[in-house]
């Protein structure tokens, strides 16, 4: 009888601990990117004008924020390519939580605000990543490779 009571006590402890672990993990900060790595190819232009810009909106950013601390979060973006030949911009389309900032030109390793005012306890919010590539004729022919990094930070 005593042994059964003790067993019940420890089982309850275990279940409680597991529940705390899962809840805590569900609301810790997380960020992920889904979709094929974007490849933007410019191959048309206007006589007397400029090359035709191209867009890619195939990737989805998913982000969560923790219960604590009690403050808003933001996502920043930067690239490792600080001297690209061509112009690459990115903007968050329809974020389900937080506010999308204006389109960011990716030419700096410095983190620039991408989505701001993300409330705490955000669970798996999403937005589409819309990349736009543009170029001038004078820039010639070539390829720019970027490693674009999104980071969840507190204000």
């Amino acid at each position: 009888m005593m042994r059964a009571r003790r067993l019940h006590k420890y089982r309850s402890l275990y279940v409680m601990g597991l529940a705390i672990l899962i809840v805590t993990n569900d609301y810790c900060q997380s960020i992920s990117i889904a979709g094929t790595a974007p490849v933007l190819i410019i191959d048309a232009g206007t006589p007397g004008g400029q090359l035709t810009s191209v867009q890619n909106q195939n990737c989805i950013l998913t982000y969560s924020t923790p219960v604590q601390p009690n403050r808003d979060w933001r996502i920043t973006v930067n690239t490792n390519n600080t001297s690209p030949l061509f112009t690459l911009k990115v903007v968050a389309i329809s974020p389900t939580r937080g506010t999308a900032e204006a389109s960011v030109t990716l030419n700096s390793s410095t983190a620039i605000n991408f989505i701001t005012a993300i409330p705490r306890k955000t669970n798996n919010a999403t937005c589409n990543l819309q990349y736009t590539a543009s170029a001038t004729f004078a820039r010639g022919i070539g390829t720019d490779n970027h490693i674009v990094t999104y980071t969840l930070v507190t204000p």
């Binding site: 275990y14 993990n25 997380s30 933007l40 006589p47 007397g48 022919i141």
Partner: protein
């Protein structure tokens, strides 16, 4: 007492093992990550485009507004500068050439020249079959330039009409 301690230790061990397994099997989406990266590639291929406006012009001697007809002089001329040539090229070392259809028995001659292009060196060309250099030494650029056509006729050649189809091309050197 010994049994109780063993029981507690067993339970603690059980709890720790289960926690470890739980963490290991949690989906990545709920594992804390504050930063994620992916690759983005921008490629610009060779682009060469050219256009000319308007699609047709007429040079009229002697009624054209710019016609020069002088009594006692055999050669008469007329000019037109309403044509705009537009281009775009991102290739290095290119040029624009000009060619025209073959006329079996041309009565008059027709010249063309680009007026102060923003890049390259303009050439004055008397139209004939085959490509002739029109603007050479062009840099990767886009732009537009006015084209001046000059129709030259001799009074002694009489009346008539020559119709040319003029073609401009961008060619890599």
């Amino acid at each position: 007492m010994k049994t109780k301690t063993a029981f507690v230790l067993t339970r603690c061990l059980y709890f720790l093992v289960t926690l470890t397994v739980t963490i290991a099997v949690l989906p990545p989406s709920v594992v804390c990550q504050t930063s994620r990266s992916h690759n983005v590639t921008v490629t610009v291929n060779k682009v060469t485009v050219i256009a000319v406006n308007p699609p047709a012009i007429n040079l009229d001697i002697p009624s054209g507004p710019t016609a020069v007809v002088i009594a006692g002089v055999d050669q008469m001329t007329v000019t037109d500068q309403t044509t705009t040539l537009l281009w775009g090229t991102n290739s290095a070392s290119t040029k624009i050439t000009i060619s025209s259809t073959t006329l079996a028995t041309p009565l008059f001659s027709l010249q063309a020249v680009a007026l102060s292009p923003s890049t390259g060196s303009p050439q004055t060309v008397t139209l004939s079959t085959g490509d002739q250099d029109f603007i050479t030494n062009m840099l990767p650029s886009s732009g537009s330039v006015s084209v001046r056509y000059t129709g030259i006729a001799l009074a002694s050649a009489g009346e008539g009409t020559d119709t040319y189809t003029v073609t401009f091309s961008i060619i890599g050197i």
